[in-house]
């Protein structure tokens, strides 16, 4: 006869409520693990999705994700000339926040090197890739935009032609893909007055410099658009992405580019390392510590619940001892209930999580190894939690029945 099951059958309401409480705790533990994994995934998703073999960035920086990187757009052509480089595309990416339908809308504006790159590689869940050089965009569903929806950014209106799911930037903001020129237009969009003021300031700077005095044309053009001053406009791109030709030794290409004094080159693995080691490591440690605390709290709460359940049965345990029950019978009663609460709590936590986690604003990634690890932890804390109850039961003298 299984005494643990008999007790549960007789006190099913109490058992269900206890298990639900434990399951909610375990769901939080599971969720913390998922948030941690989500953080890592979000941090590395962009680098992994783009799939560039090498990244050329501003010299002595660890850009374009871990820190700011600015470089001239012409670098794209210089990189393309290196032996072994199959494709080189400019990387334009920046985060914007605009008001939309009365709510803040944060998105990572990502440039696609039109016409070579129209976003065919982007994992779409609806719609299509870009078909024209301007005024089309692919948005992640987390942004809340619908297919065909029109969105004003800067001075232009963009139409959502494709949708992705779970494609976010390192900070968890949804990605929106535009052609590079559109992305730059959004990035450098300024009000008319700001442009006019900048042109006046630029003219004043040119007049004060030797170059302005020697080259009168510069003074003339300083009052016009930046593109009229090819030598003076600010750096336009964040990085250049490289795809290597098949069979090419990456180290050799890296060595070539590393010889240039104005840039630094990194592999994809190095970029991921910067993201995880630099940007995510503190959050990762914080979540890890919080997770450990939650596990300790869960263990204590479980131990108290099992202890209370044991106290409720202490007279019956004394009676069982009086009848000559072996310690194994009594230990089994407590341990089996603890394991059952742990196992059912874990299962319920997983089930509830499948409904709750998708509603979280950032990705919650539950992986099989994490689930297995948590199952082992739950097994461990169930045994640990039952020890207090078992200890109490072992202390009870059979003559307590006579009291």
């Amino acid at each position: 006869m299984n005494l643990a099951l008999k007790d549960i059958r007789h006190n099913i309401g109490r058992f269900v409520l206890t298990t639900m409480g434990i399951s909610l705790l375990l769901m939080i533990v599971m969720g913390m693990g998922g948030i941690y994994r989500g953080l890592i995934r979000e941090a590395t998703l962009l680098v992994a999705t783009i799939g560039a073999d090498l990244w050329v960035v501003q010299g002595s920086t660890r850009g374009p994700f871990a820190e700011l990187s600015r470089m001239p757009a012409s670098l794209e052509d210089r990189v393309r000339a290196v032996t072994g480089v199959a494709h080189a595309h400019r990387f334009v990416s920046h985060t914007i926040q605009r008001a939309w339908r009365g709510q803040p809308l944060r998105m990572v504006v990502q440039g696609l090197a039109w016409p070579d790159d129209r976003g065919d590689w982007i994992p779409l869940v609806a719609g299509r890739a870009l078909r024209q050089a301007h005024f089309e965009m692919i948005a992640d569903r987390s942004l809340g935009l619908q297919l065909g929806e029109k969105l004003r950014l800067g001075k232009d209106v963009y139409t959502v032609v494709g949708l992705t799911k779970g494609v976010t930037g390192t900070s968890g903001d949804g990605l929106a893909f535009f052609s590079v020129s559109d992305a730059q237009a959004i990035q450098f969009d300024l009000p008319g007055d700001a442009i006019r003021l900048e042109r006046q300031a630029r003219r004043a700077r040119a007049e004060a410099s030797d170059m302005g005095r020697i080259q009168p044309t510069i003074l003339e053009r300083s009052a016009g658009p930046s593109r009229g001053l090819p030598a003076l406009p600010p750096p336009q791109i964040s990085a250049v992405m490289i795809r290597l030709a098949p069979g090419v030794n990456a180290a050799q290409v890296m060595a070539t580019i590393a010889g240039w004094p104005d840039v630094t080159v990194y592999s994809r693995a190095q970029q991921e390392e910067f993201l995880l080691g630099g940007m995510v490591s503190r959050s990762r440690r914080q979540l890890g510590l919080f997770r450990i605390l939650l596990i300790i709290v869960s263990t204590i709460i479980m131990a108290l619940i099992i202890y209370t359940l044991t106290l409720d049965k202490i007279h019956d345990i004394a009676m069982l001892k009086l009848m000559g029950a072996r310690n194994g019978v009594i230990t089994g009663l407590i341990l089996q209930q603890a394991l059952l609460i742990g196992a059912l709590g874990y299962g319920l936590a997983y089930w509830l999580g499948t409904f709750a986690f998708p509603c979280f604003p950032r990705q919650v990634v539950i992986t099989r190894p994490d689930l297995l690890l948590l199952a082992a932890i739950v097994l461990g804390i169930s045994v640990l939690a039952s020890l207090l109850g078992i200890w109490k039961a072992m202390q009870v003298a059979p003559n307590k029945v006579l009291a």
Partner: protein
Amino acid sequence: MNSAATPAMPAVETFGLTKVYGAGNTEVVALKDVTLRVARGEVVALLGPSGAGKSTLLSAIGLINPPTAGRIVLGGQLVLDGARALVNLRAYRRTQIGFVFHKANLIPFLTALENVQIAMEINDLAARPARRRAMALLDYLGVSDRAAHYPDALSGGQQQRVAVARALANEPRLILADEPTAALDSHRGRQVMELFRKVAHERQAAVIVVTHDHRALDVFDRTYEMEDGQLRPAPAPPQ
């Protein structure tokens, strides 16, 4: 029914049992040199006022509260020499002794049948035969129709009958009952006492009953009185 005759086959014997609680100024002598011999098939009553040491004697004989000094012999085997156990007391309780208390002390999450069955399963009997025998015992005690009910759905008398069935589960040599009729009316109380007599005679178990109930003394083969930890034969009741 009182008798001075003692059957030849002792189920339990005690020699000079002494139990002392505390020490120095707080010392209390609960049992003083108690010697008792009860044979199989015999029903013995222990009478006496509260604090006389009846329950202490019962718990000492029941191997749950060892004496400070003296010896206890069960079925011819010395099991306790003072506080020193010479056998596995828990195993001995499991196989040789049945207990009944003034409260039935049934396990609340087990049905009447399961309460009896568990006593046998604890003694390594397989579930199916244990269930069959438990049902037979409940039938023997007249409560088989309540087998599937939980203790809180049974009357006091029914609970006590189930407790007796549980005490009989492993066919013990010795049944110890501590005021088993305290919670029952006189009619039910007498029924339970007669049940002990029936069990003792039919199943050849020695039964020691601690009781305050003087109305059912005719049921017992012998009666003893305890006072200040000392045991002596009770005087014969007036005819």
